[in-house]
């Protein structure tokens, strides 16, 4: 089965998401590189996202496009990236998600991907 692993964490918490120039950031990146290598056969894709300060929310109402600065909802944890993974079942998907570095400090939400075949 195909799952999306959505990575949520508090982007304003320096300990959880340190500055990209810091040493701590390097340690987290090393964790992600190791995760990618360890699970190369299961990972079908994924991206890291810039912080929500760079986000734009788009809505079309009555034919008019309305853009708003920032994410749609204010929450403590923010979507910081995602993977698309292939796993035999939910147990296997949980086992993979538990290796994502931010599972230690944030939350990984696993969602089955709809198969439209």
């Amino acid at each position: 089965m195909k799952y999306a692993a959505l990575i949520y964490s508090d982007e304003h918490d320096e300990a959880v998401n340190p500055d990209p120039t810091s040493e701590a950031f390097g340690a987290i990146m090393a964790g992600y590189i190791k995760f990618g290598e360890d699970n190369a056969n299961s990972i079908e894709g994924g991206e890291a996202l810039e912080p929500t300060a760079t986000a734009t929310s788009v809505q079309v109402r009555d034919g008019e496009t309305i853009t708003t600065d920032g994410p749609f909802a204010e929450t403590k944890e923010h979507l910081g990236g995602f993977y698309i993974i292939e796993a035999a079942d939910l147990d296997a998907a949980v086992a993979i998600a538990a290796q994502i570095p931010h599972s230690q400090t944030g939350t990984i939400e696993i969602r089955p991907v709809i198969n439209f075949d």
Binding site: Y3, A87, A88, D89, L90, D91, I110
Partner: protein
């Protein structure tokens, strides 16, 4: 357990307008009671689809009600129903042939449908365990785990589960539908967890069964102190699990604990439905058969040399069962066991019971000293204040006892418990 009232829901094991004579109805009910988990496990294994398995099992019961009435009850009713359910599944899958995979499954099933269902006990054991572990999967919320377990393993109808949990039937139906949809859509597997995870996953199963038992044992919001049904069902589920996991000490310990607690069911309330405390219960009316069974299971568990919290709690209750009068209770030993229990998981409620045991073994003052340390986590817990009130009362401090009883009354929703607490307050 299965009322033969005319309004029974169509999704239950009893069709609404069953023309069946009562002995046929009884035979069908017996299959549900004894073999539902085996039937469901076999079908889920065949079909890989919980929803479909449940539907065809249900249909097969309805067919049985009609056919057994005309043709007589077959020699092996469970096998007969399994065969009919498989045929129903083939019919359904055939009608849904736009999905090639389903057609393949139907062909494969066809082979098995021809087999005279001669169950291999080892295979059946594994199939049932897989179903139990799926129903109690840690990615489901606990309400869903309980409902699914009662439906798929115990064979209760949606209506029975709803009434046991005091929620509208539609609410329970939706809870079950959502849980089954999560299992199929999110890919919750029907597998026995690998050794490394088995103990943790078994703990979830134990927790679900014990919650079901507790729901029946002392309902927080009900007018009646207990609902026999859920206790009976939890014990039945405990028996099934103990049969499947006979080499797991805590599985046996949990069943022993439930049996030992259930042995006191008739003496926990008086004829007005008022609470009778352990030391005032008529011990001659405790169910000696359940006590003997619980004690034998506990011994069997202890021999496996895997200590755990359910075994310790069973041992505590075995000590109560062994005391001929309340005064004979070996509180020193019980206090010691609570001390051990605390090491297995320091929850405030275990601490509360430990404090009560300390008071019984070494005097109310020592008990109160212990309980004082638990005020912060348990300040909103009615039993905590009721226990303190009782100890103050025994020390002759009516003022402190009264304040604690009033606080306990504020926090209690159960009508029988409220009557008890008010009576105690009045007696000061």
């Amino acid at each position: 357990m299965y009322p033969d009232d005319a309004s029974a829901e169509p999704t239950g094991p009893y069709p609404a307008d069953a023309p069946a004579t009562s002995h046929v109805a009884q035979a069908v009910a017996d299959v549900v009671h004894r073999e539902w988990s085996r039937l469901m496990a076999t079908l889920v294994s065949d079909l890989g689809d919980l929803d479909l398995a449940e539907d065809v099992a249900q249909e097969a019961l309805e067919v049985a009600l009609q056919r057994w009435n005309d043709d007589g009850i077959p020699d092996r009713p469970g096998a007969w129903i399994t065969t009919v359910a498989r045929r129903r599944a083939i019919d359904r899958l055939r009608r849904d042939e736009n999905r090639r995979k389903k057609a393949e499954l139907a062909a494969r099933l066809e082979e098995r449908a021809g087999e005279v269902a001669e169950p291999d006990e080892t295979v059946l054991r594994d199939e049932q365990l897989r179903l139990v572990f799926a129903c109690c999967h840690p990615t489901l919320r606990v309400e869903a785990q309980m409902a699914l377990t009662l439906r798929c393993i115990a064979g209760l109808t949606t209506r029975e589960i709803a009434s046991a949990f005091l929620v509208p039937e539609a609410t329970m139906a939706q809870r079950l539908v959502r849980a089954k949809k999560k299992i199929s859509t999110a890919g919750i597997p029907f597998v026995i967890p690998p050794d490394l995870e088995l103990l943790n996953r078994l703990r979830v199963v134990h927790h679900v069964l014990y919650l079901i038992f507790n729901e029946g044992y002392a309902r927080a919001e009900g007018d009646q102190l207990m609902s026999h049904d859920l206790c009976d069902e939890a014990i039945r589920l405990g028996r099934i699990t103990a049969e499947l996991m006979a080499d797991d000490a805590e599985t046996l310990g949990l069943l022993a604990l439930m049996l030992l607690l259930h042995a006191r069911r008739d003496t926990r309330t008086d004829e007005h439905g008022d609470i009778v405390l352990l030391n005032e219960q008529d011990r001659s009316r405790w169910d000696q058969a359940l006590i003997a069974e619980g004690e034998a299971l506990l011994e069997q568990a202890v021999r496996l040399a895997q200590p755990g919290p359910y075994q310790i709690q069973a041992a505590i209750n075995a000590l109560h069962a062994e005391a001929e009068t309340a005064a004979d209770t070996d509180w020193v030993q019980i206090e010691h066991l609570y001390g051990t229990l605390v090491m297995h998981g320091r929850t405030p409620v275990v601490g509360l019971n430990h404090g009560v045991a300390i008071a019984m073994a070494y005097g109310p003052e020592k008990g109160l000293t212990h309980l004082d340390r638990l005020t912060e986590p348990l300040d909103d817990y009615g039993y905590y204040h009721a226990a303190r009130a009782d100890l103050h009362r025994r020390l002759g401090d009516d003022e402190a006892a009264g304040a604690a009883y009033r606080r306990a009354i504020e926090l209690t929703a159960n009508a029988a418990e409220l009557r008890f607490l008010r009576r105690r307050l009045d007696e000061l």
